[in-house]
Symmetry: C2
Subunit: 497 residues, 2 copies
Amino acid sequence: MPRYEQLADDMEAAVRRGVFAAGERVPSVRRASVQHGVSIKTVVHAYALLESRGVIESRPQSGFFVKARPVQRDGPDSREDLVARAAQAARGTKPRRAGAAKVPMGSVPNAVPAPVDVSRLVLSTLRSIVAQDAVPLGSPYPDPALFPWRRINQYANAIARRHASWNLIDDLPPGNPELIRQIARRYAENGADVDPEEIVITVGATEAINLSLQAVAKPGDTVAVESPTYYAMLHAIERLGMRAIEVSTHPDTGIDLDALERVLARKKVAACMVMPNFQNPLGFRMPEAHMKRLVALAEAHDLPVIENDVYQELYFGPTRPSSLKQFDTRGLVLHCASFSKSLSASYRIGWALPGRYRAQVEKLKFLNTLTTPSVPQVALADYLRHDGYDRHLRRLRRFYRQQARLMRAMIERFFPAGTRTSDPQGGYVLWVELPPRVDSMRLYRAALAQGITIGPGYMFSMRNDFHHYIRLNYSYPWTEQTEAALKTLGELAAKMA
Amino acid sequence: MPRYEQLADDMEAAVRRGVFAAGERVPSVRRASVQHGVSIKTVVHAYALLESRGVIESRPQSGFFVKARPVQRDGPDSREDLVARAAQAARGTKPRRAGAAKVPMGSVPNAVPAPVDVSRLVLSTLRSIVAQDAVPLGSPYPDPALFPWRRINQYANAIARRHASWNLIDDLPPGNPELIRQIARRYAENGADVDPEEIVITVGATEAINLSLQAVAKPGDTVAVESPTYYAMLHAIERLGMRAIEVSTHPDTGIDLDALERVLARKKVAACMVMPNFQNPLGFRMPEAHMKRLVALAEAHDLPVIENDVYQELYFGPTRPSSLKQFDTRGLVLHCASFSKSLSASYRIGWALPGRYRAQVEKLKFLNTLTTPSVPQVALADYLRHDGYDRHLRRLRRFYRQQARLMRAMIERFFPAGTRTSDPQGGYVLWVELPPRVDSMRLYRAALAQGITIGPGYMFSMRNDFHHYIRLNYSYPWTEQTEAALKTLGELAAKMA
C-alpha cells in the first residue's frame, strides 16, 4: 500500500474515532508532513484522497476541515418505531417449528487435553468488526450507549478536580478501599456474604481470571473447561502454557457433572473454569442443585474452581442468580466478575474473590500490572454509592430480555430449516446452531464481505464440534440495518446448507 | 483489633484519601451500620473514636462532619524559602570527605541462578508508606504534584464529554492509534527512528516488561539482570517462574560487559534485562560505546535484551540519552517505557517496542488485560499533541537535578563517616552505601517507627551484597520535615554503625 494511502486510511480512522470532530480543522499539510515524518507530496496526495472519499473538505484560504456527516444512529423515537415494527413482524411469523424451539445440543466430552491457541482467530474477528465498521452481531461486548456513561464521567471529572494529583501508592493491591466496600455491599444486599478483605481489584475480569488461574495451576497442567466455553477461558490457559480438557456442557444446566466426575477420576486436573450464570455463548443459568453438586465435587477432589460471573447482574428472571461462591465453604472457588458488562466497559474494572488463594492472587496482581488506575475505581465507587445502579440495571435487563426474544423470532423467520437457537436466561448473546453443512468460518467471511460480523463457533472450542454454530450479540438497539443483516445472514446460511 | 476500631481506621483512611472532604457530612450512624454490616453500637463506638482522634466532629441536630484540617503541604512560597535555606545549609557544610565523593561500589557477579521472591518485601514496604503516612523517602514513585495533572484532567474530561460512550473494541491491542502516533513522533523528534507499527500500548511499563519477558523466555529459563537491579525486573522473573542470574554492575557505566560475556559463555541465558538510562537504584547513564557493545554481544549470542527505559525523559545532562533500541539492527531489543515517571503515574500508560517479538507481545497483551483503558490513552495523546510536554519536562529535570544535589549534601552532613552516595545522571532516586555494620532492614524498621520510610537494599538483589545500602527518593519538594527525616536517619545509622 503506498504511503499516502496509508496516511489517508490512518486519518480517516482518526476522524471516525472522533480524534478530529466534524467541522474541525485538520493539521496543515506542512504540519502533517512533520508530524508523520513524510514528504509534503505524500500529505497532499493523502488529503486529496480523503477529499474524494468525502472525509475532509478544503476551504479556500483556511485549510482542510472534517466534513459534517449525517448522524448514523437513529434517534430514540425512530428506534422505538423500528422495534415495534420488528416485534410486530416477529409476531406475524408462522408458528414455531418444533425444531426451532429446541435448544442447541450439548457437546461430546473431549477426553484428550490439548494445548490451546484460539486467540489469533478471536483477535482477528474483533479487529474485523472495527475495521469494517460492520453490523456488530459478532461483538462480544455490550452496546456501551446503554450505560450511564454521562453520570460516570461526571463522577470521574469531579474526582479528578477534587484530588488533582493522584499518588499511585494510594491504591496498591488489593485496590481502592471504597470501591472494595461498595462491591461487598452489593453482594450483601443481594444476600451473598462477602468479606471485603477477600476482594482484589483487577483490570477487568480478564485479569482476574488470568491471576486466578496462575494462582492455582502451573504450566503444563490440565484445566477442565466447558464445551463450548467462553474463549477468554481458553486464552487464560493458552497464556500460561497449560492444557485444556473440554467437558460436555448442557445448554440448560451447564457443565455435565457426571462427565466432569469421570474426567476427575481418570486424570490429574489442576483446576476447573466455569461460567454458571448465563454462560457465553450458551446463556443457561445453572440450577442451584447443580451448583451445590459442583462445589461438593470440587471439595471431594480438592479442586480449585474458577467461576466467571461477569453476567451476574444481567438476569432475565425475577431473582438474581446464586453463584458457586455462595456454596463454597472451603475457599476453593475463585470468583471473578467485573463492571464491564453492566456499567462501564471502557473503565476496565473487575475483581476477584479468590478464597483461600487470596494472598497469591493479590501478589500476582501486583506483579502483573502493579495497580489498577485510580480515578476509574473511585468514580465507580461514587456511582455505586450515590447513583441509580439498580434502576439502570432494571432497564438494561428488560431491554436485553426483549432483544433476545426479538432476535430469536427474527432468526426463526429468516434462517433455513434446521436452525436452532439457545434460550438465554440472561446476558446479551444468542447461540445459533445452523444446519451441519454450514461452516461458520465460511459464513463469517461471506457475512463480512456484506458488512456483517458474527462469532464463528470455532472460537469456543479447540474441537470441531461447533463448526456450524455462531454467536450473535443482541445488545444493540434494533434497527432496520440489524434486521437486514439477519435476513442476509439467513440467506447466506440457506445457500450453504 | 476490635471491629469498631477497624471501622474507625477504615473511615479515617477514607477521610485521608479524600473520599469524605473536610466539612462534608459522613453517613449517619444508622446508614453506616447498614453499609458496613455492623451493629449500631459498633458505629457509635467508631465515631466516638474518630471524634477523639480529631477526624470528625459532631454537630448537634445534624450529625457527624469531617473536621477541617490545616493544609499539610507547604505553599510554593514557603517551599522555596525552605529549599533556599536547605541549600544554604548544605553549602555551609564542611568540605566533602574523600570517601563521600566516591560512588558506591559495583557488585560481585552471582554465578548461581536463583528463583526469585522479593515481591513480598517490596509490597510490604510500599504498604507501610501508605499506612504510616510517613516521609516517602522509600517511595519508588515520583511526587505526582509535579505533574501537569490539571491539564491532563481537562483533556480527559473533554474526551469523556465528546465521546460519551466508548466502545471497548475501538482500542484493541496494539492500542489507540493516535497515542501510538504521538509516541512515535516524540521518538522521531529526539532522533530515534521508531516505526509506529512496532508500538504496543500497555498498562504501565510493568505490563510491558512482563509481556516482553514472557515473549522471549519460558518458565525455568535463566534471565541475566543487573546487580543491584530494579526489583520490577525480579518481579517479572518471579511471576513467570524463571530464574535470575545477577551480573556485576558498575555505578557509572552499568552492567559489566565482561562479566556478562563470561556468563553467556558458560550458561544458557534466555534473556537479559537492563536499565541503561538512570538505572533504579544506581542512577548511571550507560555510555554509548557500552550500549553498542551490549547490543553486539546480544547479536552474537542471539540474546533478547529487555530494555527498561522509563526514565528516558528525566536526564540531567544537556542531551537526551540514547537507548539500546537505537543500535539494534536485528530486532533483539524489546524496549519498554511509560509516562508514569514523567507525566502521569495514575493513568498507567506504558508501551513496548518489542522488535522481532512484536506479534507475540501484542497477542500476550490481548490475553493479559484485553485492552488498556481508552480515555487515559486519548487524553495523553491530546496532551502530547497540543500541550507543553517539553516545557514541563525541562522544569522537572531542573528540579530533580537540584534535589539530587541537595539530598547528597544533606547526607554528607548528617550521615556517619563511611557513607557514600551515588551521583545520579537522571531520575529521582539516590543510592546510599552505609557503613557495612548498618543493616538496611534494621534501619528500615527503626526509621518506620519514626514515621520515615526508606528502600532497603534487600529489595534490589536476591543476594546479601546490598544489606547496608538504601535507596532514597528525592522527587518530593524539600521541607523541614524532609530535612528532619534525613537527620534522624543519619543518627539512626550512626548508632548502628
